[in-house]
Symmetry: C2
Subunit: 242 residues, 2 copies
Amino acid sequence: MSTQSRKQREIQEREQRILETAWPLLIEQGYLGLSMDRIAETLQYSKGTIYNHFSCKEEIIIALAIQTTEKRTRLFERAAAFRGTSRERIHAIGSAATIFVQLFPDHFKLEHIIRSSSIWEKTSEKRRTIMRSCERRCMGIVGGIVRDAIAHADLTLDDGIVPEDLVFGLWSISVGAFSIITTSDQLVELGIQEPFETYRQNVHRLLDGFGWRPLSADYDSVAVDDRIRAEVFPEEFRAISA
Amino acid sequence: MSTQSRKQREIQEREQRILETAWPLLIEQGYLGLSMDRIAETLQYSKGTIYNHFSCKEEIIIALAIQTTEKRTRLFERAAAFRGTSRERIHAIGSAATIFVQLFPDHFKLEHIIRSSSIWEKTSEKRRTIMRSCERRCMGIVGGIVRDAIAHADLTLDDGIVPEDLVFGLWSISVGAFSIITTSDQLVELGIQEPFETYRQNVHRLLDGFGWRPLSADYDSVAVDDRIRAEVFPEEFRAISA
DNA sequence: TGGAATTATTGACGTATCGTCAAAAAATGT
DNA sequence: ACATTTTTTGACGATACGTCAATAATTCCA
């Protein structure tokens, strides 16, 4: 019994160690830098053992992507639990998204890799389902705040507009901004000195455009951001600042 | 002389044929599907000859990306030349971006592939420079419209906000929306029935948030969109509808 | 506890692809 | 007609993927 559980635990832990070994290879050298042989060599296991855990390279990649995506989802959940006006809560989501990118600047590299059709299609349906459900959960959280805002009359959507449309807008602007930030090497030359700050402001413009109260003009969004970072994400904030 | 030019021309044309052969391989099977051997086999040349044109796989990929990016830039230039209010002209840019995605739905796959660090870093500085200059040109076009809007008092930016901030917002929301549209397989399940339409509306909300006149409420953006498609992009519009 | 049954591990193997380079072929110039 | 330059070729070495039969370790049960 105890022997079994020891072995079982060893196998379990190995899975995590494989992922930890894979991460820097993938981040530093991309898809091609991740080699099953090198993982095996590093961990002193034979290749076959690695394949016992992950049936192909792509499975390792999506497993890593799931880990970071789940971390983001948890940040979103904490942000949504912030006690404040609907506008402050949606603001907290923006802060969570930004903190996530700053804590895991490499996540978007992964996201790019995993979305390549050649990679995505080789992953198992099981893991793809997990990814999709993370995506749905994130959208659900944001959608919930939008609905709350409507319920509290902070926001009124025009006819034919559903909460998901707004969520899609926030999702788009965030994915786009962070993609650009993490892949463009000439933002400063293009006139974007502080991309994260610009992102934050643009999100507010978008919310203003939907008429979400209180509008930017009415409150000091920098102060709100500080408060959220201090109250909701004190630890993460310290990690970023350090 | 005539023999030389014939040979020269043959070599020139071959380059394009290589790219045409590479495109479907890359789109259908991703980075891994693109094989130098297969290109050589298909075109009945030896591998060495292919390598005379492109020093590595990645050069082929970026060459393809440059071709589509240049097409987009030309669409943007035509959109910017639209004679109308600043708001209509920026609207035309949005239409151009949408038309581009619909004409070249696979471009974003390429964009994803090329942005992978492992690929990007293997490309030649020469071609990277071309890509960057395309990017700058696109931003410049949009920035010019923003400046015109300010000059015509259609738009007033708050202190500390520069035109590039707004451009970054439009860029983000577009890149994000199209990335999501081309890679997510559950948009409908997530409640986004007509992503392109939602994108268009979100862009307007963002512009409204910046106070760009006339605001959405004041005019029929669907009519403007129809007019732009008919006047500026009649041919492309037909191609999409067909 | 000892040995059968099950499970986990190993690493050589077949296949595929990359990018190179010396030799062969073709084109060009005199 | 022959020398020089340019282009093409494909065999080659290197690397990596994923498989699988053989081996080792572990578990189970009498």
